[in-house]
């Protein structure tokens, strides 16, 4: 074998000729795009950083003409945790630690199988810590809020939706007509209606269907609906993974003498889940963005907190700052998750297009 040909070296000029000034139309596009891009980036940077005011009690403190971040810094505590009592903020921190433990089995992929139980355990623990669970002083959910609530609802919804979604995905692939019909019906109905109608249902219809005297908390009702909603999308994510497990795996497992349950639980499901993790993460990204809708049914997640600040006379007219901040918070979270999910795809060599999201 001859030695490998050295990689062709391109000078900066050659690269520019190819990538920037390939033709006349290309050159025009390049100039227009460069001007647009520079103008946009510079103005955004100038407004958000260079001329911004960072601290103050009212908008009067913002004099330099740029962004007035004082609204965010002055209400920092609400932005993070809503109206959670100040003396108990450590519980919010502890709850976040519990949630971090809950996602550990997804992030660290070399953990033993029992670690999957950390997920529901972490979520339940975080809700118990926040609510008090008869051990700590009780803090009603009306006081919960801010970014903490977005994270809590998003993760709770996703983690409890996953097992339901797995069952639905198996149901949809099943040969049993009634189970198959039920699964398809559930998945398609839930995916066919907007989340907001389901949230309205949780706030006005669900109480009608509960036994008289049983008052399920508003947040818990929303959590139940969000969980059912995302389970339909999780089912579709998992179904893709199930379809990707080669048939030979099942046959090999049967020939080793494993029964249906063992084959499913020990051979098929672990592989299917591993394949569908990028799709599951993408579903979660969509779900996390959807948590910004909760303020419509008067649950004070971060968008709600910001809208409340905007209706305060001290901060009137700062919509740009408020919405840019909320968008930035979500962007940082969703962008990094989507990068992570894309890197998982590359590792597994399978591409899952991020085009299907809950809506």
């Amino acid at each position: 074998m001859s030695a490998a040909r050295p990689a062709p070296t391109t000078t900066a000029w050659q690269w520019a000729r190819l990538n920037l000034f390939g033709s006349i139309a290309d050159s025009v596009l390049t100039v227009v795009a460069a001007v647009l891009f520079a103008w946009f980036v510079w103005n955004a940077f100038d407004w958000a950083i260079l001329r911004a005011d960072w601290f103050g009690e009212t908008k009067e403190a913002c004099k330099s003409g740029g962004a007035c971040w004082a609204m965010i810094t002055a209400r920092w505590q609400q932005v993070v945790a809503g109206y959670y009592p100040e003396a108990h903020l450590w519980r919010v921190a502890l709850a976040m630690v519990c949630l971090a433990i809950a996602v550990l089995p997804v992030i660290k992929r070399d953990m033993p199988a029992w670690a999957a139980l950390l997920a529901p355990a972490g979520v339940i623990a975080s809700i118990a810590v926040l609510g008090g669970a008869n051990i700590l002083p009780s803090v009603p959910t009306d006081y919960w809020g801010g970014i903490m609530l977005n994270v809590l609802v998003g993760l709770t919804g996703a983690i409890f939706a996953l097992p339901i979604g797995i069952l639905l995905a198996f149901g949809r692939r099943s040969d049993l007509p009634i189970i198959k019909g039920f699964s398809i019906g559930f998945i398609e109905i839930v995916r066919g209606v907007p989340l907001i109608t389901l949230l309205f249902m949780s706030s006005v219809v669900l109480p009608l269907f509960l036994p008289t005297g049983m008052n399920l908390d508003k947040l818990m009702r929303a959590l139940a609906v969000v969980t059912l909603f995302s389970s339909a999308y999780m089912a579709e994510a998992v179904r893709g993974g199930l379809a990707a497990v080669p048939k030979g795996q099942r046959e090999a497992s049967h020939s080793l003498g494993l029964g249906l349950l063992q084959t499913t639980g020990l051979v098929v499901l672990p592989q299917a889940i591993r394949i569908s993790i990028p799709a599951i993460v993408n579903t979660f990204i969509g779900l996390f963005k959807d948590t910004s809708l909760l303020y419509v049914i008067a649950i004070l997640e971060v968008t709600g907190v910001i809208r409340q600040a905007l209706s305060d006379f001290a901060w009137l007219g700062l919509e740009n700052e408020g919405y840019v901040f909320v968008a930035f918070v979500f962007w940082v979270a969703c962008f990094s998750m989507s990068r992570w999910s894309a890197s998982l795809e590359q590792q597994s060599g399978k591409t899952v297009k991020r085009v299907e999201e809950p809506a």
Binding site: D26, M201, C334
Partner: protein, 387 residues
């Protein structure tokens, strides 16, 4: 699978038991929920049934595509809301497709800055929540000047913080005949065109399919002229503190339209990019080799093949856009959810009935899109090119 007896189809004894348990569980759940609902509804004195649909609604709706008065019934409210949803959905579908196609093609363009610009757009638009985007656009729409210092030209359009005023087509006289005649001509033209194309493919001879298109356009123009030019144009004029004439697009509609287009456009861009990349590279090179230029290669060779990959997820994006238009409620655009699951629900107190009707509407949309997708997949499978 061979069709066996009942027991076999039900998966034997175990399968039958599992399914029986599911049915029993669902029935018990339904009975329990129904019992609870019955008690609660009686205790709260809420009416049941759909009688309210015939009653007078009594509230006003700013934007209505069909005639609407507060004295109209809730059935009319449902129609007005559904039409408003369809209006913003159709507008959004058109613009999001244009944005998505442009950004998708730019993402695979040879130009580095074009790629950078498109990537920046996609990553911003799809990683921020749509409700927040709607609020941002709404805020922008309200930044336009007040009517007194409106931007625009008298008799053409005005841009103000109360909305955009545009010229409007008026239908009069024999307009109905013109519309139906035109539709009939177009349908007949499309059939002709596909018939000619089939003949050409199968026999290699016959008229050009373009004659079908010519028939469609000619028939439409003829129907329009024969009925004596039944359209007029109504332009906006400044008068006093406001405007008269023309069509008013409220700031809420503008914002919702912009946000839905911007958001969905980013997902469409990714679908288009995936579709373009799924076409084998040799196809583009071969097209260039036979002498087509870049634009022709894209339009005649690459896009038609990419469409097979693009259309199914595209259809579900259109569906998502339609469902997402329900976020109208946060800025007060009178879509179906806002007027029916919002105002009507509050006035009648009949939450179950109103929400069920709204959900049925969205389900009907979703089922028709699924039906279209099945039809399209079956059709495109025939000429599927293996890579």
């Amino acid at each position: 699978m061979a069709r066996g007896g009942f027991m076999q189809r039900m998966g034997g004894v175990r399968g039958l038991a599992a399914q029986g348990a599911l049915v029993l569980g669902l029935v018990l759940l339904a009975v329990w929920l129904n019992h609870n609902a019955g008690t609660n509804i009686a205790a709260r004195g809420i009416a049941t049934g759909y009688d309210f649909m015939g009653r007078e609604a009594g509230f006003n709706i700013d934007q209505h595509l069909v005639d609407y008065e507060p004295t109209d019934t809730y059935t009319r409210v449902f129609l007005v809301g559904a039409l408003n949803t369809i209006l913003v959905a159709v507008m959004g579908i058109v613009t999001s497709t244009i944005i998505g196609l442009t950004a998708g093609v730019m993402r695979v363009s040879k130009n580095y800055l074009g790629r950078l610009l498109a990537t920046t757009y996609v990553e911003i638009a799809r990683n921020t929540p749509l409700p927040v985007q709607i609020l941002v656009w709404y805020n922008l729409a309200l930044l336009a000047p007040p009517p007194r210092t409106a931007w625009g030209a008298d008799g053409l359009f005005f841009l103000t913080n109360r909305g955009v005023y545009l010229p409007q087509f008026n239908l009069n006289g024999l307009a109905d005949f013109a519309i139906w005649g035109g539709i009939a001509a177009i349908v007949a033209g499309l059939f002709l065109s596909s018939h000619f194309r089939k003949q050409r493919t199968e026999h290699g001879t016959g008229a050009s399919p373009n004659w079908g298109w010519a028939f469609a356009i000619g028939g439409f123009v003829l129907a329009y002229l024969l009925t004596g030019n039944p359209t007029g144009i109504d332009v906006p004029h400044k008068s006093g503190f406001g405007f008269t004439g023309g069509f008013t697009m409220s700031p809420a509609l503008m914002a919702l339209w912009a946000a839905l287009s911007f958001y969905t456009g980013s997902f469409i861009a990714e679908i288009v990019r995936g579709g373009l990349q799924a076409v084998a590279k040799g196809q583009g090179e071969a097209a260039r080799a036979v002498g087509l230029n870049d634009a022709q290669a894209l339009r005649l060779v690459i896009l038609p093949q990419a469409m097979r990959v693009i259309v199914p997820p595209l259809a579900s994006q259109y569906l998502n856009l339609t469902k997402n238009s329900s976020l109208a409620v946060i800025i007060g655009y009178p879509d179906l959810v806002a007027v029916f699951a919002g105002t009507s629900l509050n006035q009648t107190g009949q939450a179950i009935e109103t929400l069920a009707l709204v959900m049925l509407f969205y389900l009907a949309c979703s089922l028709s899109v699924s039906a279209f997708m099945n039809w399209y997949n079956a059709r495109s499978a025939v000429w599927a090119v293996s890579r």
